[in-house]
């Protein structure tokens, strides 16, 4: 078969490991795909690059921007990637030491407190509102502070300028070890089965290159399996884990020496959905939340966003 | 018109027709009628601020008169690079160019060879006693030297009509005398046409075929004095020149007295 040339957009995060593994171990080649990985600094531009045709596949959380691009007929979500599941360390809710000492010891006390988010419409925003909903106070009782960048939020939390935040476990654990931040809860208590990130492609690919998309997902899932086995379930043994970390280190934390990078990579390993399964229920909930916040048009349906023809959904 | 023609039309005549000029509310020149014949030097004298420099700018085509027109008759000689050439009262040297560079500026737009241009520059710099200073920048020159650079630059383009605005004012009497001799020599050889603004009556009678006395602002032609003695023959003490100078002097003094009276009473 002729070789398809495709471009995959990625961030230098452990959560994109499946792509790296599939690339390094030749799974893409096996599927007749010649892949070029383009690196980005944020998920948003990947979506734009897919819309413009510069990139074929990408991984990102479901965001307002993604939904609007899908609404314009530019992109489609085709599978799931990161996923919260019981028993595995998931996103955690943090409080600054100052706020903790002042009584913010459980998420229930978040009423009237400030909460860091990157932007309105981001996953942090969603999490904050879900907490409010479950704890039974008005969403507006949490004071959201849009700070754009994770780094900035960390700075603000450490220096006590915001009271609370939620974040993936390896960052959360790292922070909580320090004297200035305390852990006060788990996101999975508020959003069970949270579909954190998804894999998506251009609407054109989803409609006209179904075969190629399937092959991509197959290779991607194989990479995900290796990753899960080596670092999440740890069933492949220490040697395989070590190899995996080395492989990932080629792409992530490259500027740090291996010894320093390895723990961060290991800590940051979260389960990637087997076979890119997609939790459509949770995606629907997210869409409903976006609509309830007037961030996207009320007329958008789940079918506009997701093409569920490629992977198992639930 | 061209009086000194050697068979063909060679010199350029200038004709000023009823020229009036003003800046905003200030009337500067009123109804100036004047003909400058080819090969003739016309000196313009008049009180400070009466519009002499303005008149020269109008003649040179650097400004347009409010009314009236300046006409040019005859063809410029072929070897003239810039028929109507100016020597500015405030020198107008480019501060970023050396003496040499300032002179060469006037030559660069003409198709003359590097060699020829170097020769011209050497010639005019030695005539203005600036050869030692060819590499100096304007800020390193004395006032008189700057003025000499401006003269050298004007000479370099072999003008057919020279418009000179107090070209020797910043020079010591001796250098002035030398440069005046130089200009007279030049005129004897090439009989260029010139309009020469000066406030030095001695210069005016040495150098002018006719001397136009302007009234104070708004400048009008008050009197035109013709001097018949040939330029080459106006050596040191000459009774008739002395007399003309005295006459000019009295004209100017009257003008100034009138101005003073006006100031007192008006």
């Amino acid at each position: 078969a002729a070789v398809d040339k495709i471009t995959v957009g990625a961030l230098r995060f452990t959560s994109h490991a499946a792509t790296f593994v599939a690339y390094e171990r030749g799974y893409f080649k096996d599927e007749g795909l010649e892949v070029e990985i383009k690196f980005f600094q944020a998920a948003q531009p990947i979506a734009v690059a897919i819309a413009s045709g510069d990139v074929d596949f990408g991984i990102a959380p479901v965001s307002g921007g993604l939904i609007n691009l899908a609404d314009k007929g530019a992109i489609k979500v085709i599978g799931g990637v990161l996923h919260e599941e019981p028993g595995i360390d998931g996103q955690m809710i943090l409080a600054s030491k100052k706020a903790y000492d002042a009584g913010l010891t459980t998420p229930a006390a978040l009423k009237g407190k400030s909460f860091g988010i990157t932007q309105a419409g981001s996953s942090f925003h969603y999490v904050a509102h879900k907490i409010a909903d479950k704890e039974g106070f008005a969403r507006s009782d949490i004071k959201l502070k849009p700070l754009q960048k994770v780094g900035v939020i960390i700075g603000a939390l450490k220096s006590g300028q915001i009271d609370s935040w939620s974040i993936v476990p390896h960052i959360a654990k790292g922070l909580a070890k320090g004297p200035t931040v305390e852990m006060i809860g788990k996101v999975s208590d508020y959003i069970p089965d949270y579909q954190v990130t998804t894999v998506f492609t251009s609407a054109k690919n989803a409609a006209q290159e179904k075969e190629m998309v399937k092959r991509f997902l197959k290779a991607f899932s194989k990479g995900a399996d290796d990753f899960n086995a080596a670092l999440v379930d740890k069933t492949a043994g220490e040697v395989a884990a070590e190899d995996m970390v080395k492989l990932i280190h080629k792409y992530v934390y490259v500027s740090r020496p291996y010894e320093k990078a390895a723990p961060s990579i290991r800590n940051g390993s979260m389960r990637i959905n087997k076979n890119a399964k997609l939790n459509l229920t949770n995606i629907k909930d997210q869409l409903a939340w976006f609509q309830s916040e007037n961030l996207v048009s009320k007329s958008i349906t789940i079918d506009t966003i997701v093409d569920s023809g490629f992977v198992e959904t639930y | 018109m061209a009086v000194l023609s050697i068979g063909i039309f060679y010199y350029m005549d200038l004709q000023l027709k009823n020229i009036t000029h003003s800046y905003g509310e200030i009337d500067v020149l009123g109804n100036i009628d004047l003909t400058v014949n080819g090969g003739e030097i016309v000196c313009i004298v008049g009180p400070s601020g009466c519009g002499k420099s303005t008149l020269l700018r109008l003649i040179g085509g650097l400004e347009r008169p409010v009314s009236g027109e300046v006409l040019l008759l005859g063809e410029p000689p072929k070897e003239s690079l810039n028929p109507l050439t100016y020597i500015f009262q405030d020198f107008a040297l480019l501060p970023w160019r050396t003496v040499e560079g300032n002179v060469s500026l006037a030559l660069e737009d003409h198709s003359i060879s590097k060699l020829e241009s170097r020769e011209i520059i050497n010639d005019v710099l030695s005539r203005t006693h600036l050869s030692d200073f060819r590499k100096a920048l304007p800020r390193q020159l004395s006032g008189g030297m700057k003025q000499r650079v401006a003269i050298a630059r004007a000479l370099a383009v072999r003008p057919a009509v020279m418009l000179m605005d107090e070209p020797l004012s910043a020079l010591d009497s001796q250098t002035r005398e030398l440069l005046m001799d130089d200009l007279i020599d030049l005129w004897m050889r090439e009989s260029f046409t010139a309009v020469y603004v000066t406030h030095n009556l001695h210069e005016a009678v040495r150098f002018g075929h006719r001397i136009v006395v302007l009234s104070r602002r708004p400048g009008r032609v008050r009197e035109v004095v013709k001097i018949d003695r040939p330029l080459g023959d106006r050596g040191d003490a000459n009774a008739d020149l002395e007399e003309v100078q005295q006459h000019l002097w009295s004209l100017m003094r009257d003008e100034a007295r009138a101005a003073d009276r006006e100031l007192l009473h008006g």
């Binding site: 979506a47 413009s52 921007g65 502070k145 849009p146 | 085509g61 006409l71």
Partner: protein
Amino acid sequence: MVNDRARPVPFRGGGFKHKPAVAVSLLVFVVLILFWEVGSRTGFISNLVLPAPSEAFTALLQLIETDMLWKHLSASLQRLILGWTFGTLFGVCVGLLIGLFSIVRAGLSPLVSAIFAIPKIAMLPLFIIWFGIGEGSKVATILFGTFFPTVIATYGGVDNVDRTLIRMGQSFGLSWLSIVRKIIIPGALPAILSGFRISASIGIILLVAAEMIGAEFGIGAYILLAGSLMATDQLIAGVSILSLMGLTMAWLIGKAENYFLKWRM
């Protein structure tokens, strides 16, 4: 008599002067926007990222109707005015110091070059620590961003002041301060005002960076939100407000130039 060969002296002067032509300015804008609208309608310009001006205009109207425009605008203007005023003020002061004292120049001018080149966005985490996530850090971002270009423009202007005028001032026994106030500052003013044009635009640009940190209202915050939602009509609406602010600043500085530099002709 060859009067038929008489011709007026060719006019060589003139030019290199400016006549205002407001009509042309307006025309350029109108033509550009029309072209864009037509391009969008015919699909020549992809609607994916660049919406038609009419759509952006609708978004703008919505902003006005919901009374949000004033909230955003007043928040941003306050930051801009504070940041720009102090940034240029300090900038002129430091620029003067650098221009006037060799020792300050040696000490500060490399520092200015070094710090100017540091991207404000990279420094946001630090700004938060120093100035908090309230108005302080926002104003500080704009202040820093406008400070450096002003410094450079100012000392460039001071360097260009005619030294003979300074010698004149000294010969009349003017005090050092008088020379600075009456000779150096007016002489450097054209360059300083030209620097203001640049710093005003930079200040407006930095509204976006400034409002990245915990801003609820502000044109920059509005644009950021629109961008993250890929709401391109709102994005363009927000950006065009910034453009209008840029135009207004340029117009004001043009007025100031006309007033302060009328001696230049």
